[in-house]
């Protein structure tokens, strides 16, 4: 069981970090979710993995399970849920306002970001070959 839990945490963290380092907001959000799942699982495991033991204490039990990590996980789940909602809304807002879903700021020299910009592309297409001025400004 230890191996299963440990490798689940490891794989999710690795995938999460890989996705967080992507250039677009959607994979980044998914990566953040994976990271928080890995974190929650990790917190869960900090109380040690045990089966069929009572929480805290019982008269006839050999040992006990620490219930506190589960409370921590619950708090962490609630907070990460709220945070994910915030980051989704902000990513959407950034996409709608700037016209592309790249994470970089425009000043950071990201030519592909301006290629993907649907706002500018729409304007370029609408301007057409006859109206060079509008296209140039976009």
């Amino acid at each position: 069981m230890e191996f299963l839990v440990a490798s689940a945490i490891g794989v999710m963290t690795a995938a999460g970090i890989y996705l967080v380092l992507r250039a677009r907001t959607f994979p980044v959000v998914i990566g953040l979710s994976l990271l928080t799942y890995a974190t929650n699982l990790f917190l869960f495991a900090t109380g040690r993995l045990a089966i069929n033991l009572p929480p805290v204490i019982a008269a006839d039990a050999a040992g006990y399970v620490d219930p506190l990590p589960q409370a921590l996980v619950l708090t962490a789940i609630v907070i990460s849920f709220g945070m994910t909602a915030v980051v989704v809304v902000m990513a959407l807002r950034a996409y709608l306002e700037t016209g592309n879903d790249h994470v970089d700021l425009p000043g950071d020299a990201s030519p592909e970001a301006s290629d993907d910009d649907w706002k500018q592309r729409g304007r370029k297409q609408a301007a057409g070959p006859g109206a060079r001025k509008g296209g140039a400004r976009a």
Binding site: L32, F42, A45, M83, R93, A94, E97, T98, V103
Partner: protein
């Protein structure tokens, strides 16, 4: 039990909620509520400051659960100082904002209250899972404040800020989990008792957790190489919000001072002074990078952001020496740099408002309205930020230089602090002369419309006045801070106050 301890958290929480429910559509009412709450926080912070000055540590056990089991709030000199600093800066920024700036978005005032609630909570809590919760509160609110007023660029910078901090939160939880799995406690004082008893086999886990936690605080404190979010965030955040954020980097610094002196300090056995070998080089690089950034900045906002990074470098390099004398000097510099950064961001915003589409970019532009006054304020703030005499920045740096003399790395510290001061002076002179002096060579153009009113100047003047006060009263302030540092480096009193109260009502 002394209920005054929870008021710095309770007052903004209640007023923030009231603002959302009652004063959503009434801007005058919202301002009155917000201002009254801020004044109340200042009075409470002053009261707590005075009561903490007697050197005792006060505890507030929520629900009267005794310390290692329940959550406690703890007030010592350092907490009281940070609360007072947050209240002073908060009041200054609020005065600036209520001159019409707060109308750019809908929910400025409730967000502002919740932001202060998170900051105050982080300063008061004596439990590091609770510290995580308060970090999340102040962060989730700061996301809202950061994009206040909207704009594509700002939201995009906001996304970066959110993503960085969410990763930071995950690391925080992992670190908390690691430390909990080894010591079985989340209470800082209890942790300080348990750390020396950790068996050698578990030391690796414990120290990994502690260093991960340092990483999280370093993200908050914008330490190189984790500083990259700060210039983008602060320079794109609206001016008053950036000014309030000046205290948020200090939350990171506060947490480092608190945890690594208390739990991983002299009494920590194998884990003693765990943070020092990591913190000092990182902080020195931060100092160099920040002050060089001041020279390379393309706008006043960026310049102020890099000045914040540089000052964090200086602050944490001094903290990393880990002696009582160095910490007291660092705390003096902390007060100074918070107020100076706040004033700089507000001044940058004054310029942005008056220059129209050029904003605060470092290019010559026609003269701005009230240019002379703003230039004077900038001059004073720049003197403070670079650490020139006669203001408190100079005294702060002098105290720091004196305090690190005994350190093994004194040569590095002296050389870098002095040379970066020179770079910062050049940077600020360049910025100030381009924005304010070169405009006199250009023909007068019709100035873009801006909001009038004296309140912004009162706010900036007030912050600069606090700096002057800090300079004039440097003797008593430093004496107070030396007692604070002495209290920090004798953690037995803190531990006894937190753990010894088991069930007793004070």
């Amino acid at each position: 039990m002394n209920h005054a301890l929870i008021l710095p958290i309770l007052v903004p929480a209640v007023v923030g909620a009231l603002l959302v429910i009652v004063a959503r559509h009434d801007r005058v009412l919202a301002r009155v509520f917000s201002l009254v709450s801020m004044l109340a926080m200042l009075v409470i912070a002053l009261g707590l400051f005075v009561s903490a000055s007697d050197g005792s540590v006060r505890i507030y056990a929520l629900g009267a659960w005794p310390a290692p089991f329940g959550i406690v709030l703890a007030l010592d000199r350092l907490s009281a100082l940070m609360l007072l600093l947050a209240a002073v800066l908060g009041l200054g920024v609020l005065l600036y904002a209520i001159n019409g700036w707060d109308q750019r978005g809908k929910h400025f005032h409730p967000l502002y209250q919740f932001q202060l609630m998170g900051i105050n909570g982080a300063f008061l809590t004596g439990d590091f899972f609770n510290l995580f919760v308060f970090f999340e509160i102040l962060l989730i609110v700061s996301y809202g404040l950061m994009v206040h007023g909207g704009g594509g660029l700002r939201v995009k910078a906001g996304v970066q800020y959110v993503v960085t901090n969410l990763i930071g939160s995950s690391v925080f939880l992992i670190a908390v989990g690691l430390i909990y799995s080894v010591t079985g406690t989340l209470n800082m004082a209890d942790l300080a008792v348990k750390v020396p008893q950790v068996p050698a086999a578990d030391q690796a886990l414990l120290q990994t957790g502690a260093v991960l936690l340092l990483l999280v605080f370093a993200v908050k404190a914008a330490l190189v190489p984790l500083h990259f979010w700060l210039p983008g965030t602060y320079a794109n955040a609206p001016g008053p919000v950036a000014a309030l954020f000046a205290i948020m980097t200090k939350v990171g610094a506060y947490s480092i001072i608190r945890l690594y002196v208390l739990a991983f300090g002299a009494g920590a056995g194998e884990a003693a002074w765990l943070a020092a070998p990591w913190l000092l080089p990182a902080a020195l690089v931060t100092l160099v990078l920040g002050m060089t950034g001041v020279l390379a900045a393309r706008s006043l906002g960026q310049m102020a952001s890099f000045a914040v990074i540089g000052s964090m470098g200086l602050l944490l390099a001094t903290v990393a020496v880990f002696t009582a004398q160095a910490t007291s000097a660092a705390l003096y510099y902390l007060i100074h740099s918070t107020l100076a950064a706040g004033a700089l961001f507000l001044i940058a915003d004054l310029v942005v408002e008056r220059r129209g589409p050029l904003r605060d970019r470092l290019v010559p532009a026609p003269r701005i309205a009230q240019g002379g006054l703003i230039a004077t304020l900038f001059f004073i703030a720049a003197i403070a930020a670079t650490g020139m005499p006669p203001l408190s920045g100079f005294l702060g740096k002098l105290l720091v230089l004196d305090a690190v003399r005994a350190s093994a790395h004194a040569g590095w510290l002296w050389a870098l602090i002095l040379s970066t001061s020179l770079i910062a002076i050049v940077g600020f002179s360049r910025g100030g002369s381009i924005v304010f002096w070169k405009s006199h060579a250009l023909p007068v153009a019709p100035a873009p419309a801006h909001r009038g009113g004296a309140l912004p100047f009162v706010a900036v003047g007030g912050l600069l006045g606090c700096l002057t006060l800090l300079t004039v009263c440097a003797g008593p302030v430093h004496a107070w801070l030396e007692l604070t540092a002495a209290q920090l480096y004798a953690p037995a009193g803190y531990i006894e106050a937190v753990l010894g109260t088991a069930g007793t009502v004070r």
